[in-house]
Structure formats: structure tokens, C-alpha cells
Symmetry: C2
Subunit: 200 residues, 2 copies
């Protein structure tokens, strides 16, 4: 499976030059022609893409996490994190799932991939993983404290109400809310989160 | 009315140093102590805050805009834009409303104020404006093309479905979706968007 970045509605122009290289963010600038023919300096950021995994356990529960990070406090989220340089998307999803939960999965379904912020060249890839198997203890890095928090599908649908602590890609929040408005979206979501049938 | 920035859940630490000053984004870095006692370089951005105004016309329609900007294509949104340096929030809201629509308003109600992206020190202030009066032609800057598009309250509620072209603060999209799930949120939203009664 070769997962590609989606096409950006605001792609980085070819003449953009990197003017700063940061720890996470690089800054690019270029001269942009305006509607009246004048030019103005424009700016856009680039940062490593993010992978997020919603793991569906054999009993149908979704393996969420309660995490704590320096400067960020505690929050409730699906496992995930920044991609390493040169790493491909699926490898990153598998690595983050294993590091943060100790689980491997047989199947990764791409649920969503989007640029969440207009002026940043940054994609968030969101997966649903099935056929989960615990293979080790979790192994978070020095900047993470993680507790596993399985939730039912019904609880997942209500996570957007926990405004203060639920940390998720906004398009995912929209999908969860829309499923409660449109029966056909609810049907699709139930299908997506149905646990993999175990082969005996 | 003195409108303050909300408290950030991830405030810029005192020892953060500005390492780059851009056209829009400034980059700050600091040494962060991790859970195992080691230190790691951390980074956070700062950019000018944004004001957004949902203007309610005397007939109850909401004055949205169809805008075009270089590198961004065309999108449907409420009037708004970046605050100028040193400008206060309400002044910026009045200025953007006037520039992009030619209207002034008697009343500005703060609907939402939040930090939409964790690693960016950036607040989006969202207002509902009432008692609208057209006082001039619109006066967009050289990087904007704007068409006025009044919508009914019912049409506003369905804008989140226009995924590809509706450009809005995510928390506003959530509020519009949640109003369709929870009757009490719908009631509050109807109250908020009720046009101002005209004094005869």
C-alpha cells in the first residue's frame, strides 16, 4: 500500500525559498503578485506530517490514550505522532501504534488525510487499525506519559463533547458529529469501526 | 468593552527566545526539561491574531462572503482577517467588517475565542454583529476579491457540509453541527443570530 499526500489547495509555490529551518517548523517565503499587479512577500510553513491511529480491539472497543506532554498538560487522544524524516506513512503509523500502546495490527485503513491549517504544509493521516495484538509493553519517548483508555463506539461518538481534553484532528471531530446527524454517515462509521472477524 | 486573549493551555514559556521574525510567523525556541530529566529543544510559533465577524442583517440573513486570495483559490467565509500590530480586538473586527462589506454594526457579541492550533500562539476571535448599516462600498485590499453572499440561518447551519469551500474556525463548525444534535444548543444559536429589533 503506497499512501500519498493529498493534493494541497494551497501548494508551496516553486519559487518559495526556505528562510529558516527550525526544530519542527521550517519557514518559506516568496514574492506574490497581487490582484492589482503589485507584489507582496508571502510566507508559508512546512512541518513533518502526523499519523494518528484509531485501533479497534477484538471486543469492538477503540484503544484511546490519555497522554501527558511537557507544555501541553494532559489530554485524551488516539495514539499517534510526528513522522520521522524519510519514513513512509504506514511505517510511521505502525511505529507510533507500537510505541504508544505495545500493539500491532493486521490491517490499517486510511480514514482521512488532510491539511488542517491553510498556511502550513502539513498533512495529518488518520487510520483505523484492526486485528490488534499486544506484542510488547508500550515504550513512550522521554516527552510522553501515556495511559491506555479503551472506549466503546458509543463513547467515541461522544468524545467531541469533552471539548477541554479531547485532542483530535478537526475533520475527525466533524465526522463523529456528522454521524449523529446523518444516518448514512453513521452506517459507514459503524462499518469502519467493526472489529475484524477472527479466523479460528 | 475590553476583550482579552483567552488563557492558553500551552502558554509560551518565559525563557522562550525569538529565533526568527517572519512576515506572518515568528519562531520561538527554548530548552524543555523532559520527564526523564533530559532536555530537548522545543519550538512554538507566534502570529497576529484573527478576527471574524458574522453580521446579522435586519432581515435575519447572515452576511457571508465569497472571497478569492492569491494561493488560496476561492472560498466561502464570514468577513474577517488578521489584526494589525497594536490594534485592539474590537477595532480590528469593526475595520475588517467595514473593509470587506462596507457595513457598520451597532453591537458586537463575542461568540468564541480560542487557540486553533496547539503549537501556535494565535487566537481567533469570532463575533456576531447586529444593527447592520451600509455606510460605504467595500474596500478590500490588493490581495482580496470579495463578493457579498447573504445566507439564511438555515443555510448557515448547513455550511459545514460544503466541506470543500467553507472556510471557518473549526470550533464554529462544531457549534453549527452540535446545534443540530442538541436542542438547547440550537435554541442558544437562534437567540444569538436573532436580528436586532429596530427602534422606530
Amino acid at each position: 500500500m503506497d499512501i500519498k499526500r493529498p493534493k494541497s489547495k494551497q501548494p508551496m509555490p516553486e519559487n518559495a525559498k526556505r528562510v529558516f529551518k527550525g526544530v519542527i517548523y521550517d519557514v518559506y517565503q516568496w514574492e506574490q503578485e497581487m490582484y492589482d499587479g503589485t507584489k507582496a512577500p508571502f510566507e508559508k510553513l512546512k512541518r513533518p506530517d502526523t499519523v494518528v491511529v484509531f485501533p479497534v480491539l477484538p471486543d469492538g472497543k477503540i484503544l484511546m490514550t490519555e497522554q501527558e506532554q511537557p507544555m501541553k498538560g494532559s489530554f485524551f487522544s488516539a495514539p499517534g505522532g510526528r513522522m520521522d524524516e524519510g519514513e513512509d506513512v504506514l511505517t510511521a503509523a505502525k511505529r507510533e501504534l507500537l510505541e504508544e500502546t505495545g500493539y500491532e495490527a493486521e490491517e490499517f485503513i486510511l480514514w482521512n488525510a488532510e491539511y488542517p491549517v491553510g498556511k502550513i504544509d502539513w498533512v495529518v493521516f488518520v487510520f483505523v487499525a484492526k486485528g490488534l495484538k499486544q506484542v510488547s509493553e508500550m515504550n513512550p519517548d522521554s516527552g510522553e506519559k501515556i495511559k491506555l483508555m479503551p472506549v466503546t463506539f458509543e463513547e467515541l461518538l461522544e468524545l467531541p463533547e469533552k471539548e477541554d481534553s479531547f485532542f483530535a484532528d478537526q475533520e475527525i471531530v466533524h465526522k463523529l458529529l456528522r454521524a449523529r446527524i446523518y444516518p448514512d454517515e453513521m452506517q459507514k462509521l459503524k462499518e469502519l469501526f467493526k472489529p475484524k472477524e477472527m479466523v479460528q
